[in-house]
């Protein structure tokens, strides 16, 4: 299976790394991405990406406690695995290498 991280995959992983595990669930991840990109993100899209990342071993999840606020349903908390952190580091290194030296992206 390809180790390539898509741009949205990377956004989700970075959001997870920015959030504490107890706070990292669908709503907060979606909000974090929206604040960074300025675009609304559907919760279903976030969950589809999280499941794909979990299948690849880059993310793990656990069910939290159910609450009345959520209609008696539990939150699913997510965290980045060691393998996921490694993949993010590799993606960062690759992107920085590509960005370096591009005149249009250099600040005035």
């Amino acid at each position: 299976m390809s180790d390539h991280l898509g741009s949205f995959d990377l956004l989700v992983l970075l959001s997870l790394l920015r959030l504490e595990e107890e706070q990292a669930y669908g709503v907060t991840i979606s909000t974090e991405i929206q604040q960074a990109t300025g675009r609304a993100v559907a919760l279903a899209t976030v969950y589809a990406t999280l499941e794909r990342l979990e299948d690849r071993g880059l993310v793990s999840s656990r069910l939290g406690e159910s609450t009345a606020q959520r209609g008696g349903r539990a939150k699913r908390h997510f965290r980045v695995t060691t393998n996921g952190v490694r993949q993010v580091r590799e993606a960062k290194a690759a992107l920085l290498k590509m960005w370096r030296g591009i005149r249009e992206l250099q600040e005035a």
Binding site: G26, V27, A44, Y47, G71, G72, R73, A74, R76
Partner: protein, 190 residues
């Protein structure tokens, strides 16, 4: 005053048609956001996106099952629809037959949806419903480009209503019934 409960039908569709792995967290998130001020329209929009994403992911990962689900649902639903509406047209006739086409079409589509939900994964029901809409759109386009004969206006209205509203609704209803019967789940009031 805005209702405090999210749309019951939307939640039931999510509980019965998307995998438990996804629904476990997703539905709770949607309910939480709804209680925090999101509208019912937003809830429905998120529901449709979740159903669509789940269906296409299922179809992409299990292409053969998607094809067999569509073939099985279409053969069972379409043949039953053809048989029953032909009988209605023959023995009833006239505009009364057109009126009968609607419940007969709904029931035939429900049988197709039920067959799909009992023989395949639940997400395939939505795949089949989407296929029905696409197939109807293609048939309509072909008819408009190459009209064989001029349909009466009443018949045209019935056919359009059947193809784009009644039959997809029937597929979902039959699929929900099959999925609910299988899991013995009942809708939880929120």
């Amino acid at each position: 005053m805005k209702p405090t409960d999210p749309p019951a039908l939307a939640t039931a569709l999510l509980e019965l048609l998307i995998p438990p792995r996804t629904s476990a967290g997703l539905i709770g998130d949607l309910v939480e956001e709804h209680k925090n001020g999101r509208s019912r329209a937003w809830y429905w929009q998120q529901t449709i996106m979740a159903l669509t994403l789940s269906a296409f992911r299922e179809a992409r990962e299990r292409k053969f099952h998607a094809i067999t689900a569509i073939v099985l649902g279409y053969l069972s639903g379409a043949s039953l629809c053809y048989f029953t509406t032909s009988l209605a047209g023959r023995f009833v006739g006239g505009y009364t037959a057109y009126v009968l086409f609607i419940p007969l079409g709904f029931l035939s589509a429900a049988v197709g949806g039920w067959m799909v939900s009992r023989s395949h994964s639940r997400a395939m029901v939505f795949v089949f419903a989407i296929f029905c809409i696409i197939a109807s759109a293609v048939a309509l386009a072909v008819y408009m480009l190459f009209p064989i004969d001029r349909m009466p206006l009443a018949m045209t209205v019935v056919v359009l209503t059947l193809d784009f509203i009644i039959m997809p609704a029937g597929v979902l209803a039959g699929g929900l019934f099959g999925a609910a019967h299988e899991s013995h789940s009942t809708y939880r009031s929120i």
